[in-house]
Point group: C4
Chain length 241, copies 4
């Protein structure tokens, strides 16, 4: 397979912002990035802007310490871009990251109930969903990942998993491609809503077994593009109109 060209990747990064707003994962906050396809020590992220407003001209290149590279002087940068830089540093397999306040996921960050995979569509949760407690790294803070040290702590909590929750804040989701990161962000939100409902029924819950999760994840590798294609079509129509 030919390596996707940079302009095509950047288009998909812009589209990813729209899709995540459309699907209720992002509101005016949160962000999505990709690792630079040619320079693995760089990543691409919109400047400090509401996701629904991001265009190709707003995409900034950062190094893994999250210093902007050749960004226009007047650009403001996300206070929490260190999430991205430090996870790209820690996880060579990761090429796209979503940070959001995805609403239905918030409850699982502030209780002792772990988020777990209810069905095959969210099988990427089966490796485990750790919760990052910022108090352990920063004491009483403003809750933000506002420097490289905190980014590194979060990356450590994430470990080799696909999703980590941030207590009293939101979550971070990683994948090999921006299409898969978006897919995982959408179905993390769906699974959270369904798990809240299932818990309200009471009694034991029959979650996916680890082996089922592993096998179902391979299916998602093939089928996630079907959702992406629909979502992208809608987003492109909005961006034209």
């Amino acid at each position: 397979m030919a390596k996707p060209a940079l302009p095509a990747l950047i288009e998909d990064l812009v589209v990813a912002n729209r899709v995540l707003v459309n699907e209720g994962v992002l509101d005016a906050y949160g962000h999505v990035s990709i690792r630079h396809p040619e320079k693995p020590e760089r990543y691409l992220l919109g400047r400090n802007l509401a996701p629904a407003l991001v265009t190709e001209k707003d995409i900034v290149e950062y190094d893994l310490d999250s210093n902007p590279i050749h960004a226009p002087e007047h650009f403001a940068h996300f206070h929490e871009r260190f999430i991205h830089g430090q996870i790209y540093r820690a996880r060579a397999d990761v090429h796209a990251i979503v940070h959001s306040h995805s609403p239905n996921v918030i409850p699982f960050g502030v209780t002792e109930h772990p988020l777990r995979a209810l069905y095959h569509m969210s099988s990427f949760l089966t490796p485990g969903v750790p919760v990052f407690e910022i108090r352990e790294s920063a004491g009483m803070s403003n809750m933000l990942i506002s420097n490289n040290a905190l980014g590194q702590s979060l990356a450590q909590t994430l470990g080799g998993n696909n999703v980590a929750l941030m207590r009293g804040h939101g979550n971070v989701i990683v994948a090999k491609t921006v299409q898969m990161a978006v897919f995982r962000a959408v179905y993390t939100e769906v699974n959270a809503r369904l798990q809240l409902q299932t818990a309200s029924l009471g009694g034991p819950i029959n979650f996916l077994a680890p082996e089922e999760g592993e096998k179902a994840m391979q299916v998602l590798d093939n089928i996630h593009v079907r959702a992406w294609d629909i979502w992208k079509k809608t987003a492109l129509e909005q961006m034209k109109g």
Copy 2:
């Protein structure tokens, strides 16, 4: 009553895909089929495509082993078409099938709380809603009904009922017509949401009695077309515009 002509049936099959997306039963996944009106050993199902994109040109004919008949070479086929073939084989009375991940229904597949009819609109649930546990047939799997043997097991679990849940996956709904299959899929989702809410109130729930369900189902035979007509009107407008 004159037998409905094939083109009219295929139009309704295409419309059914749209309606199920509009009503929140399908997202980019799931599928709906009809038995061929003239060849009872054949069924019609869209090729592997998101439901919102299906047109008449995407409808493929399959035999009951789910082999495609004269399909274009480049068409991909749903991995789970065996659901359809094996249920049509086992149930001569069934002429339409919906397979979905209908969200509010998922909780009832992973707990010990059976889905039951709360009101006359979902009276078709009163015969019973069995849960298919794929582990009993396939051990630790990728959760998919990806061959005829699994399709047959699912058909056995369904038995003579109208709806069966698939643990950690979704559900399957059958009917005599595509209009009724769509109606049942929509009100299965509604009933599931209402049952989740009712259960959260606590205490005993006064479900429809079996005899009430049986009688109310006869009413639905007459009135389900009123909903279909509205849904179809909306879908056709979307498909034009």
Copy 3:
């Protein structure tokens, strides 16, 4: 105040159908009627049609036994029009009736938790919300109010209240005007959703006291038109477009 003319009342009856669909009280089922302004032994109700499709030409006049008066031969009539006839007969103060399957209200008809007023906007619930158990009148039935005897039983259960629930079916709401009937139908649905949420918190609920309810209802007499005006504006725009 001049008596409202019949054409203006019929326009509002048509609009009421649309508003109740827009606000999620009705789907393709349910109906709304008014007492004839000049002939108190007659009422006006759409023919058997999905509410979103009702126009002025579909409005039929019925006597209080629910016989249609001069209706076109080809018109079908609602099986449950007896709800309307018998309540108008029993309640001289009632000039508008809504029958719906309003979703969030269903749980309160099938459990022992009465629907009660959480706040001033639903203060019309404070007189009490009885539940009609059709089994007591009809044994094992198809759940429908399909004749005058059942309509009379339902009217008896309603008594002097503004709202009655129908177990395993829906509810009926009465008022002095169609505007107020629509207002009550919308806020019955809202109150039900809020009460479900409140109950899920656990512990005692501080409902409106009867005297608070009585006083707050007088406020609604004045302010309900503010909501109606907005809803009507939206509905008229839809009907044009």
Copy 4:
């Protein structure tokens, strides 16, 4: 920073009405006001009108006893404008107020479960969210803040906090700017919904600590405008038509 001019402030007040409807905080009821930027003993509030209909011509100036100043004869005034006058009198730091029946917040006014901050976006709740019990001031009432004495009681309950609930009625939210008042109203609604869901999971909830809340509130001072800009853009497009 230059003081914002009156016309710009009034435009934002009109926009605030729209935004609060779009975000589900207001329906046909509730209101938002600003303190007059040049005359601190005056405030600006729409006349008695559904929020979605308010234009610049509907904005009325009131003194702190809530007497209208030079309002056209035919204007009706909100029965509850005393909420605004008395809070502006009691709280020199407050320059904008929202009163709403924000739906998900209602449960927390009628149970013993206090509304508390689940995450940084609602950190403005950490000072505390008192509940105003109108029975203590007015006995059995129609629930409305319909005079200056009741407005004063409500202002006393609010104290130095940002949000107060009104039992069986709604809530009141204050801020230094109309943009921040709108932001707080939206995220009070979101936090309430998330807290209802979290409570349904059972077990202890790890709310923001007071110190975390204080620090996170400073972040919101900077970032709330990002949401406002998006919301205002949408509202202005709607108002153009």
